[in-house]
């Protein structure tokens, strides 16, 4: 239950009400004061002051001054009138409650409206700022464009001028040339004289011709002189060169160097596994070091029934190159014949691993691998695994009747055992 503060004093004028509320030892902040147009509340728990005003006031303009031990309210009345009392007379509890709620709602609404207006104002300000910046930038841009345009025009004019001068000079050159052609024989003698005097100068001064008007004769003379002074063509020779080595045919780029290094590294590694056991293999013949030749040998021995020898051949081939799936596949077949079922399973699995991109080219090899593994499982009485493999084989090659029959057999076997147990 709050403690009601009821000691207050008030006085009024036609348009305002002055209310002073003494607080003994209480610290009040603006958050403790709640005011709407007909309800005033000061709440500093556990103390409470509440006033249901006689008539509406203008709560936006009314003020509250928090001073030492006292709050001084200046409330401006909405309608100029003299109030009979500060608060409403009938203190019906329900009504009071109602009024309180109303007040709160009103306050809410007011707050909402205020935020709305603030938002709208903010947006307008932003828009305005944006427009202003756009204008400024536009102005800057046009200024630069103007400068550029002026520059361009100036330069174009200069160019035109230069061109005209140049054309005039060329015309003069042409006419002078024609004149000189007529006067040629006379000048031959002159030329010889100037020849001698010019030789010492040739080396020091540069005979770089400047663009001058009406000096056609000058240039023609020097041209003729140059021809006579030209050395003979060089004697042909060849220079042999070496290039800094580069494996790739593409141009060298810094950003690609890391990639290229990696690629080369991998290539080197792949080649290294081949040459791992060189020491032992030294006493073998050339062809015996070739995995393909060994595979063929193995196949032949398998065909004749010499399974152990075939396994040996495949073993050596695998040591030389362990990335050929067919070697494992064939070795699995040998192991099956030799009843080395676990080894057969291992080899078929390895073969399947190596045949990982499951493409149509791999089909026959994969079918064989699955079938061999399936057979091995069944021999070991692991019928469900065996059936899985047979079904995988069937998926690749649905038209193979032998596999179909074997799969059926295995299914019956499984059902049989299930029934028994």
């Amino acid at each position: 239950m709050p403690v009601w503060l009821q000691e207050y004093s008030w006085r009024q004028t036609g348009s305002a009400v002055y209310l002073s509320l003494p607080l003994r030892g209480l610290r009040v902040s603006p958050a403790n004061i709640f005011c709407t147009d007909q309800y005033l509340k000061v709440s500093v728990p556990p103390f409470l002051f509440e006033a249901f005003l006689y008539a509406p006031i203008d709560d936006t303009n009314s003020t509250a001054k928090i001073g030492n031990e006292i709050i001084f309210f200046t409330l401006y009345k909405k309608e100029v009138a003299i109030w009979d009392s500060l608060t409403l007379a009938n203190a019906n509890k329900e009504k009071l409650q109602h009024l309180r709620q109303d007040a709160v709602l009103k306050a809410h609404k007011k707050a909402k409206e205020e935020t709305e207006t603030k938002k709208i104002k903010k947006q307008e300000h932003k828009k305005y700022a944006l427009e202003a910046t756009i204008k400024l930038e536009e102005a800057e841009r046009t200024r630069i464009e103007d400068l550029k345009e002026k520059e361009r025009q100036k330069v174009t004019k200069e160019l035109e001028l230069w061109k005209k001068q140049h054309e005039a000079a060329e015309k003069q050159n042409k006419t002078q040339k024609e004149l000189h052609q007529e006067v040629q024989p006379l000048n031959e003698k002159k030329k010889e004289k100037t020849n001698k005097s010019r030789i010492p100068n040739e080396g020091t001064s540069k005979t770089k011709l400047k663009h001058t008007k009406g000096h056609g004769s000058y240039s023609m003379f020097s041209e003729n002189l140059n021809e006579e002074q030209l050395p003979a063509p060089r004697s042909a020779a060849t220079i042999k060169i070496n290039f800094t080595s580069r494996v790739f045919p593409t141009p060298l780029r810094e950003s690609r160097v890391a990639e290229e290094e990696e690629w080369l590294h991998k290539q080197a590694e792949a080649r290294r596994t081949v040459s791992a056991d060189l020491s032992e293999l030294e006493d073998l013949k050339e062809e015996e070091k070739n995995p393909d030749w060994l595979k063929d040998k193995g196949n032949k021995m398998f065909a004749t029934g010499n399974y152990l020898a075939a396994v040996n051949a495949y073993n050596l081939a695998i040591r030389l190159n362990n990335k050929l799936p067919l070697l494992y596949l064939n070795r699995a077949a040998c192991h099956l014949k030799l009843r080395n079922l676990h080894k057969a399973i291992e080899d078929s699995s390895k073969a399947l691993e190596l045949l990982t991109p499951p493409v149509p080219d791999n089909n026959s090899a994969r079918v064989k691998a699955y079938v061999r593994r399936g057979t091995a499982f069944c021999e070991l009485e692991l019928y469900s695994e065996g059936l899985q493999d047979y079904e995988a084989a069937l998926k690749i090659d649905p038209k193979n009747e032998a596999i179909e029959k074997d799969a059926e057999k295995i299914r019956h076997l499984i059902q049989g055992t299930n029934q028994d147990s």
């Binding site: 361009r152 330069v155 663009h211 020097s222 041209e223 042909a236 060169i241 290039f243």
Partner: protein
């Protein structure tokens, strides 16, 4: 105020443009390229007002990759071209039906061509150098048919690398001349034609797209080599250290390939690079306080200076593959890009740099 690059004129073309060159002593320019049907195109334009007017169009059986006026006299102004088939031809543009000189110089496309000794610049015999995809660099004299006067080829058993760029330099008297060649594996080799030997070689970390000496007709001063991955190197060529070679400074201009470098003919310390992103950068080289110093063993070693960017501009979205300054008007240049446009630009305020 920095130099500005002003776009003066441009022309859309109907073929792939590989090279564009100013015709010396004129306001005309030449565009070389490859038409869609696999033939070569030569077009002669004249700068009129703010536009390019087509004066002449010549079609040739093979696409043309590069051309130069460097080895002809000012009166004749013959154009030397290298084409996709490895043929070197010299054309008289007044009578372009048959070439003045023709040789099947290389087995594969001629990537780059340069000429020296003509146009009244420099001394000595006019010569043309071509660098090709077959890994060889050959120097030709128009007076000698069929056989090059110098041939820089891979040794026996050596696998070839594409030669992407060649440049002449050091032609300050009648005997001296060097050829610099850049290859796709980052090699830069300097051949001395007087002694017919390899004078210097180095390797940068990217394929070399373009090399140029700042001036062909002086004692070799600076060499700029541009490469893939947006880098270029400026070598100070005045001092050669016996083991370390030439000093250099390198700069990374942009992320894409730098296709071409061209020095301003009127000021050898200013050069422009064109990039794979369609941009042009204008650079100025500043010399160090002392261009050479002694190293610990007492041998002379060069000191490289520094490069500063004066201006850059993006003109296109496609690489600008060719660039040429006009030798007659300072700041006038033409550039050709792979968006089938040739643009004439004027760079202003170069006097104040």
């Amino acid at each position: 105020e920095r130099p500005q690059v002003v776009a003066h004129a441009q022309q859309a073309l109907s073929y792939t443009l590989f090279d564009c060159k100013w015709v010396p002593r004129s306001a005309r320019l030449l565009c070389l390229g490859s038409a869609a049907r696999g033939t070569g195109v030569l077009q002669l334009y004249e700068l009129r007002g703010g536009r390019l007017a087509l004066l002449r169009e010549i079609e040739k059986p093979k696409p043309i990759k590069c051309g130069t006026f460097g080895a002809t006299s000012l009166q004749q102004r013959y154009l030397a071209t290298g084409d996709f088939d490895g043929n070197l031809n010299i054309w008289n543009l007044e009578a372009p039906e048959t070439p003045v000189y023709s040789v099947k110089g290389h087995k594969e496309i001629i990537n780059s061509i340069d000429g020296v000794g003509g146009l009244g610049i420099g001394e000595g015999a006019p010569e043309i150098v071509t660098g090709s995809r077959d890994g060889t660099v050959k120097v030709w004299d128009p007076r000698q048919k069929d056989i090059p006067v110098a041939n820089m080829e891979p040794a026996e058993g050596e696998s070839k690398r594409d030669c992407w760029t060649v440049a002449f330099g050091n032609a300050y008297n009648q005997e001296e001349r060097v050829v610099c060649a850049g290859y796709d594996n980052g090699d830069i080799k300097l051949f001395d034609l007087k002694t017919m030997s390899l004078r210097w070689e180095t390797s940068i970390k990217n394929g070399v797209c373009s090399v140029e000496f700042d001036r062909k007709d002086v004692n070799m001063n600076k060499l700029v080599a541009t490469s893939l991955e947006g880098k270029f190197h400026v070598f100070d060529m005045r001092t050669q250290h016996p083991t370390k070679g030439f000093a250099s400074v390198s700069e990374k201009a942009q992320k894409s390939t730098i296709w071409q470098v061209r020095h301003l003919p009127q000021n050898r310390d200013i050069f422009m690079t064109s990039g794979g992103a369609g941009s042009l950068h204008l650079w100025k080289y500043e010399y160090p306080a002392q261009r050479s110093r002694k190293d610990s063993a007492g041998a002379e070693m060069g000191v490289a200076g520094s490069v500063s960017l004066l201006q850059n501009v993006t003109l296109s979205t496609q690489p600008i593959s060719s660039l040429d300054w006009s030798p007659d008007k300072k700041g006038l240049c033409v550039c050709g890009a792979f968006d089938q446009t040739v643009r004439v630009l004027i760079v202003t305020k170069l006097n104040k740099v």
